[in-house]
């Protein structure tokens, strides 16, 4: 609605990240640069995904009401690349034990915040028209922060070789759910 509203939405979106960063002790480990690297990896992975999607999946011209299950399924599968990216970050980043997860997730989520939410907020929340969706968007970014932390943790658990067999299955299911979340919600 106004700059004030923009400020509200921006703080709602950004402050949890800030709080998480400060309070999870990452700042004590000088992990800021590693977070930025994780963010750069995010950008790279998104770019590859987009190129892949654009090249191999032409626009589907089916009927408007028919939901193209197969096509969307394939597209969601490409989101596996996200998981691979997280894995890459965690394996390369030489952070300590569990902090690898936090670093990777923080960097990833912050990059996503900046790329996908800043510009709509700037353009939209500052206009005259009021819409609930900006507040929803900011809140959504909080949720995705937590989501990415969870996802990174699950990926990490998946790659642990000393994981007991009985836990493999739920971990795999959780991973699958993470990837196909968007697909399932449709």
């Amino acid at each position: 609605m106004t700059l004030f509203h923009f400020g509200n939405c921006f703080s709602l979106a950004y402050f949890p990240y800030f709080i998480t960063y400060k309070c999870s002790g990452l700042s004590e480990y000088n992990a800021f640069w590693r977070c930025v690297q994780a963010g750069a990896t995010y950008l790279f992975v998104q770019l590859c995904k987009m190129l892949f999607l654009a090249t191999f999946f032409p626009t589907w011209e089916g009927g408007a009401g028919v939901y193209d299950f197969v096509g969307e399924f394939m597209k969601a599968t490409v989101d596996l690349a996200d998981l691979l990216g997280l894995h890459l970050v965690m394996s390369r980043n030489a952070g300590k034990g569990e902090y690898k997860i936090m670093v990777a997730a923080m960097g990833w989520a912050t990059a996503e915040l900046i790329m996908s939410r800043c510009i709509p907020l700037w353009v939209g929340a500052r206009g005259i028209e009021f819409d609930w969706k900006y507040i929803q968007m900011s809140f959504d970014s909080n949720i995705s922060l937590v989501h990415y932390i969870a996802m990174a943790a699950v990926v990490w658990m998946f790659t642990r070789y000393d994981l007991p067999k009985s836990f493999r299955l739920p971990v795999t299911i959780l991973l699958g759910l993470c990837v196909y979340k968007g697909f399932l919600m449709e």
Partner: protein, 553 residues
């Protein structure tokens, strides 16, 4: 091992909780996400005539909306529906220096009861007479506009009310609307040309034939120029004139029926603005040219004005015609034809002297009368002040065509009798040639009322003027245009622009809402901070909760 399990469970908890929060938010949020609504608004007339200013002066708008029963109206845009509109409410809005007034008209005027339509028609001249700096707009109603109106009404009427808690709740859920128009401040249009068209049919038999002039003004007038369709006034007059042109051109094309009168047809522009087109045409023809049909022998001038749907027909004269003159002959023929062939038609003569002290002239024939040309006007209206001549309510569905075609027949026959001055036998011959075509009339009226014909909207390149010129040139010879431009130093008429604008309605929240939101966000962040700081406590709690269950394995 327990650590792994609890980690898994912890992750699951972390993941599902935000999801349920999202669902909760989506379900709780009561408002549909409506984007700004854009609609066309038509501004009230603004013009100067002979130095007098009329209408609303201003055009820009960026104000909050309210309905007319709210208490505080100053600097707000007041929205009124036609059914609730009254002059006192309008005055109230103006007194409180409202930012603007928007009157919402129904899409289909025939759904309105007749008394409301009549009342509005009578109010129109009063609206124009009070010169105001508040912009007044008219908008056509559609669903979104109606929902905006009802929401504004709810929030306006509950403003003086109740407790602080209700007010607080109200600010969170209410919706204000901000109305913004695109477009600039209105300014005078310079060098506007009013176009008039003339054409003639030359009589048989040499020079010095008497001339009959048939005149109708083709523009329309209403409180909003873009909404004035003028079906009856003066779409009917134009249709009759064009039909007469067609009939007489057919008659004149046969040698047997080629009469000894010149017929001059004139479609004048600027008629509703004190007959500017006619005035200048007369000046040019009588003062500035050496020879013109108007200077020689003019039998009479018949002006056609509002000939629509009623059972009355009046011949308005400024001087009762003398016995033996062509005007008297026409008067007599009109009476005869009306009495014998159309007994349901009531014909009478109305005598009104020209009053030069009035601001505007009453009928078009008075222009000719001032220049000493014998003239009269045919109309179904009894008085020139009738509101039907200047109303936006004058639309196609209102004017029916049986009356119009009957009137056309009466006029055509009376004219033929005067022109041919002959017996019943030849009249029978004439009847076989002349047939007033009703579907021709219908399509003419349909075309004329399909778009607004206010004088400010018709410049010399407009499609209406071009089509009229084309139509005339099919039947008449020497079709010419005649332009009137206002005098630079002492303009008789000045038109203003910005008559049609686009208005956007944006949903806005009151300022308190922002503060409320800031407080909520601050508290949320505070809670989050505490949760993250004391995360260890939460973790331990969860472990204690989940551990016994695992132990029971």
């Amino acid at each position: 091992m327990f650590e792994e399990a609890s980690e898994v469970l912890e992750n699951m908890l972390k993941w599902s909780f935000p999801l349920s929060l999202v669902l909760f938010l989506v379900l709780v949020c009561p408002l549909r996400a409506e984007a700004a609504h854009e609609f066309s608004v038509y501004r009230m007339q603004q013009y100067d005539l002979q130095g007098q200013t009329y209408g609303s002066r201003n055009a820009i708008l960026n104000t909050e909306a309210r309905t007319v029963d709210a208490e505080v109206l100053s600097r707000r845009c007041v929205m009124v529906r036609l059914a609730d509109f009254s002059y006192e409410k309008y005055q109230k809005a103006l007194r409180q220096s409202a930012g603007a007034v928007v009157i919402i008209l129904p899409q289909n005027m025939s759904t309105m009861p007749q008394d409301i339509v009549q009342q509005f028609m009578e109010l129109e001249p009063e609206l124009l007479a009070t010169e105001t700096i508040v912009p007044v707009y008219f908008a056509l109603e559609d669903e979104e506009l109606l929902s905006i109106y009802t929401q504004t009404q709810i929030s306006s009427s509950s403003q003086g009310s109740s407790s602080a808690a209700e007010v607080l709740l109200h600010t969170a859920t209410a919706n204000g609307f901000q109305m913004v128009t695109s477009g600039a401040q209105s300014k005078a249009v310079s060098d506007w040309a009013i176009t008039s068209l003339e054409g003639r049919l030359t009589g048989a038999g040499g020079e010095d034939l008497p001339t009959i002039v048939l005149v109708a003004h083709y523009d329309s007038f209403g409180v909003a120029p873009w909404l004035s369709y003028g079906a009856d006034s003066n779409g009917s007059g134009v249709a009759v004139l064009l039909e007469l042109a067609r009939l007489f051109s057919r008659l004149y094309s046969y040698k047997r029926t080629h009469a000894g009168y010149n017929l001059l047809f004139f479609l004048s522009g600027g008629g509703k603005f004190n007959y500017q087109g006619t005035k200048r045409w007369l000046e040019d023809n009588l003062d500035h040219t050496d020879s013109s049909l108007l200077q020689d022998n003019v039998a009479f001038v018949l002006c056609l004005d509002t000939l629509g749907n009623s059972d009355n027909l009046h011949l308005h004269v400024s001087k009762p015609p003398k016995e033996g003159s062509p005007q008297h002959a026409l008067l007599r023929e009109l009476e005869t034809v009306a009495a014998h062939q159309h007994p349901d038609l009531k014909f009478s003569m109305v005598h009104k002297k020209i009053n030069l002290a009035d601001d505007t002239l009453a009928w078009e024939h008075e222009r000719f009368g001032i220049r000493r040309l014998p003239a009269f006007t045919l109309s179904h209206l009894e008085s020139h002040r009738s509101p039907a001549r200047h109303s936006i309510m004058d639309m196609r569905s209102v004017s029916s065509l049986e009356g119009l075609s009957r009137n056309t027949k009466v006029i055509a026959e009376a004219l033929a009798r005067v022109i041919y001055n002959l017996t019943e036998k030849v009249i029978a011959v004439l009847r076989s040639h002349q047939q007033v075509q009703e579907d021709q009339l219908a399509s003419l009226v349909d075309w004329l009322t399909a778009q607004p014909r206010a004088a400010q909207l018709l410049d010399k390149d407009s499609s209406i003027v071009n089509t009229l010129e084309y139509y005339l040139s099919r039947y008449l010879k020497d079709v010419k245009r005649h332009l009137v431009r206002a005098d630079k130093r002492d303009p008789e008429f000045v038109f203003y622009d910005q008559l049609k604008q686009t208005m956007n309605a944006y949903r806005v929240k009151p300022a308190i809402f922002d503060l409320l939101l800031a407080v909520c966000i601050a508290s949320y962040l505070g809670v989050l901070y505490l949760a993250v700081q004391n995360f260890g406590l939460l973790y331990g709690f969860l472990r204690r909760v989940t551990a016994p269950r695992v132990k029971q394995h």
